[in-house]
């Protein structure tokens, strides 16, 4: 058995408290999990669970104060700036908000060539690659010379996905990438994620609050509650017959689009809450 692609071992993230002598604010209390190559690990949690922070810790954007994050067996949580930059070839990101994650003053071409040019790729090669990437995310060729504001939310998210794919990463951290989108767009963008994974073998750390989204896209699911992982398992099992009380509560709380089933689910939830 080879080592996992990404491994989190008892990771603690703390933000310094405001003012001197204040206790630091601990967001993650020792989280351990692993992602295999080509796998989607869904990370589910509510606000304040630390799910976004976990993603940011993997990206080097949040301070890891304890434990270790290993990428292909190599510790990466305390890298210098230069080494961290080198890692950007392998680990990429798609953020939640498609409106602030793209620089409004840059054209799509500039946004997409930027990660390539910084590594010394010639401009012509970079532009040729961008045209191919746009194809892959089903955006028209002339999208390249437009500004982000000319696109809808779903289209912007496609641009963000293209940016993440620029340098053939092995892992993409997806931080709620579809929660700002309309239902119909959401389904299409999720299918694009799956299609790309099947074509390239990229792994996803897929952060979301939505159990049905996580079920659709994940191979395995980890449930985060107040900075701790309370349950891990394969997607079907966690989203159908969860073991931990919190996951059960989460599942029963999500309303289903069917009045009769929802009435039963509601009754079940109230019964469990009462007991």
């Amino acid at each position: 058995m080879t080592s996992p692609l990404l491994e989190l071992d008892d990771v603690v993230v703390e933000y310094p408290g405001k003012g001197r002598g204040k206790k630091p604010f601990r967001v993650l209390h020792g989280v351990s999990l692993a992602i295999e190559p080509g796998e989607t690990l869904g990370l589910v949690g509510e606000s304040g669970s630390g799910k976004t922070t976990l993603g940011r810790a993997v990206l080097g954007l949040a301070p890891v104060t304890g434990g270790e994050i290993r990428y292909e067996g190599r510790p990466i949580s305390r890298l210098g700036k230069r080494e961290r930059r080198a890692l950007s070839k392998d680990i990429q990101v798609v953020f939640q908000d498609p409106f602030t994650s793209l620089n409004p003053a840059m054209t799509v071409m500039d946004i997409l060539t930027e990660p390539l040019l910084v590594t010394g790729v010639a401009r012509a090669d970079a532009e040729a690659r961008v045209q191919k990437l746009l194809d892959h995310v089903y955006l028209p060729q002339d999208a390249a010379r437009r500004l982000p504001r000319e696109f809808s939310g779903g289209q912007r998210q496609r641009i963000a996905i293209a940016r993440a794919l620029c340098r053939d990463p092995k892992l993409i951290v997806c931080d709620e990438p579809v929660s700002a989108l309309d239902l119909t767009t959401q389904a299409r963008v999720l299918d694009l994620f799956i299609e790309i994974q099947e074509a390239t073998g990229v792994a996803y750390l897929f952060v979301t609050h939505d159990l049905s989204v996580v079920r659709h896209i994940s191979h395995r699911v980890a449930v985060l509650y107040r900075g701790d992982i309370v349950e891990t398992g394969d997607a079907a099992q966690v989203t159908e017959s969860p073991e931990h009380a919190y996951t059960k509560r989460l599942l029963l709380a999500a309303p289903v689009p069917d009045p009769e089933r929802q009435a039963r689910r509601r009754a079940e939830r109230l019964r469990q809450a009462a007991s």
Binding site: S101, P115, R129, P140, S212, I217, A254, Q262
Partner: protein, 586 residues
């Protein structure tokens, strides 16, 4: 999946081109250009030295040899005016250069790296800003040099904090943007991020700031010279004003030339900053005049409505005036709500569902143009109501539950007072009665410690609590209709379930009608009796909830329902690919 079609990309004009279209900008530039030309060409335009004084020319009138006459000690006014312009131009430029050379880089570093550097720089800036500028200049001119140019360099340092603050604030704002995080993850170093993402944002406000610093510097320089500071040989508008001031009773006209020159220069410079701001589109937002009432489009007869009818809306249209013609967001919507009925208004973003809900309450922004054929609430015609009549109805007849709990409570007032104020107005309760009723309501919406929450400020309670407080507020004056705009979208699912339970029980207990705006079919299934599906400003289908889910008629409804992921198959286990990974573009 087909590629999306776009209209051709709009032409984007450069900043300079846009600014030059404004006659005011051209005027400002002409004044500043005149200043530069006059300063450079001063020796050509006048034969007199600015500090050459001839006793006989004291307060000389305008003449061929002295076009603007002589001053209080017999110097040529025109010559002093021209050379004074030189002093102003040089002084203003010096101050701008120094202020940006000092404040610019420090602001960039402080904003970008924060930490101890920011703390130290911030402290120094506060020290500098706490001392009145002219007092510092007096000290410096007394201690170091009487040269006005030296003074302007020092003024540049004193004004550097303004530049520092502006640039630091812009950098911090950019730094918080996700696209900077994305650039970092893309492997961009700090230098490149600053060049590509931060600097472009900073340049425009800096330009505007520069015009202001220039104007202020010229003013302060003149003030110092007016006080009699500065070398006697340095002609300046301030010194001219000083001289004119001593002769204010016998030659008040002497004030006119330097005063006008200085006023014009300062105005041109600061108005130019304003024009740049306008051209950038960062101008202060325009304020639209107060709202008009909802207009009746046609004099439609009020048809007999069934006795249990609570709300009737017919032919509602909402449009926003745009440069290229009005943009219609609600296009002929008709709906009804019966007493005690929950109507779900479902649609994707931009479908006009919230706009429809707000128009019933008369809460659309001022610029909205709202018309309708009919809008009747509980037998009362809502069309053409004036503000007072509408206010009597809002809260009392129709309650409103907003989407975002935290931003919908006034942060400056205690929760209690926000609950009490409408009850005192609508129900005429005394302060004590209203307080008792508010506490009762807080307990009713499931708040464990009503007394404490009553005394709290909004920032002291959680989002779920805040939403309960807002629901308590919505029902406080016993309305017959509730309008809830995505009331659970901002909440966690577990909290959402509890809030929906609360809304359902309140609605049933008080037999209120309700319009629930949502995009979530799960929420619809949970609480709605009837559903209206909206697409692009129109209602495409209205039916009882069970029927919508069991047998949707319209294609759009079916498509929406088909996109729900709930109940779909799980993705399944990962099959480890045995073939090597291939490149996405190969």
């Amino acid at each position: 999946m087909t590629a999306v079609e776009f209209p051709p990309a709009p032409k984007r004009d450069g900043l300079v081109r846009r600014a030059l279209r404004d006659p005011l900008a051209v005027g400002c530039l002409v004044v500043l250009a005149l200043l530069i030309v006059a300063s450079l060409a001063a020796p050509l335009l006048t034969g007199y030295e600015p500090d050459h004084s001839v006793m006989a020319d004291t307060l000389a009138p305008m003449s061929g040899s002295h076009p603007l006459g002589g001053d209080g000690v017999g110097r040529d006014v025109l010559s002093r005016l021209l050379y004074g312009g030189r002093t102003s131009l040089v002084g203003g430029t010096l101050a701008v250069l120094v202020a940006f050379a000092v404040g610019g880089p420090l602001g960039l570093i402080s904003g970008f790296y924060r930490g101890w550097f920011d703390a130290v720089a911030g402290w120094i800036v506060n020290v500098i800003m706490a001392v009145p500028a002219i007092i510092v200049m007096l000290v410096v001119m007394a201690a170091v040099s009487q040269d006005l140019n030296v003074a302007m360099v020092v003024l540049g340092v004193i004004m550097a904090p303004m530049v520092f603050r502006l640039i630091r604030a812009s950098v911090i704002a950019v730094r918080e943007e996700l696209y900077v995080d994305a650039a970092r993850v893309s492997g961009l170093g700090d230098g490149r991020i600053m060049r590509r993402h931060v600097l472009p944002v900073v340049i425009a406000p800096s330009l505007i700031q520069a015009t202001q610093v220039f104007a202020v510097a010229i003013g302060i320089q003149a003030g110092l010279a007016f006080l009699g500071l500065g070398k006697a040989s340095q002609a300046s508008w301030g010194a001219m004003l000083g001289d004119a001031f001593t002769n204010i009773y016998n030659a008040p006209a002497l004030l006119v030339w330097p005063g006008a020159a200085m006023g014009l220069t300062i105005l041109a410079s600061s108005l130019l900053g304003n024009v740049v701001r306008d051209a950038l589109g960062t101008a202060e937002p325009r304020v639209v005049r107060r709202r008009k009432r909802v207009e009746r489009r046609a004099a439609a007869p009020v048809a007999e409505a069934p006795a249990d009818r609570l709300l009737t809306v017919a032919g509602l249209r909402v449009g926003y005036p745009k440069p290229g013609g009005d943009k219609t967001v609600v296009d002929g919507v008709s709906l009804t709500v019966a007493r005690g009925e929950v109507l779900g208004l479902v649609g994707e973003s931009g479908s006009g569902k919230s706009q429809t809900a707000f128009s019933v309450l008369g809460l659309l922004p001022n610029e909205a143009e709202v018309t309708a054929d009919r809008m009747v609430f509980d037998g009362k015609d809502l069309l053409g109501l004036d503000l007072a009549a509408l206010n009597a109805l809002r809260g009392r007849g129709i309650g409103y539950i907003p989407q975002e709990p935290m931003s919908n409570l006034d942060p400056c007032f205690r929760i209690g007072s926000q609950l009490v104020e409408p009850m005192r107005k609508h129900l005429g309760l005394s302060r004590a009665e209203a307080r008792a009723k508010a506490l009762e309501l807080l307990a009713r919406v499931g708040i464990p410690d009503p007394e404490r929450v009553f005394r709290s400020y909004p920032h002291q309670i959680s989002g779920g609590m805040a939403q309960r407080v807002l629901i308590a507020g919505a029902v406080s004056c016993d309305p017959r209709l509730l309008i809830a705009d995505e009331p659970t979208t901002a909440l966690d699912v577990t909290v959402q379930a509890e809030v929906l339970d609360l809304m359902r029980s309140l609605q049933q207990e008080r037999e209120m009608g309700m319009i629930l705006v949502t995009h979530d079919f799960g929420v619809v299934a949970d609480i709605c009796d009837r559903v209206a599906v909206m697409q692009k400003g129109r209602i495409v289908e209205t039916a009882p909830a069970r029927q919508i889910f069991a047998a949707p008629e319209h294609g759009y409804t079916r498509m929406l329902l088909d996109s729900t992921l709930e109940g779909g198959p799980a993705r399944g286990d990962l099959r480890v690919p045995d073939k090597p990974l291939k490149e996405v573009t190969s």
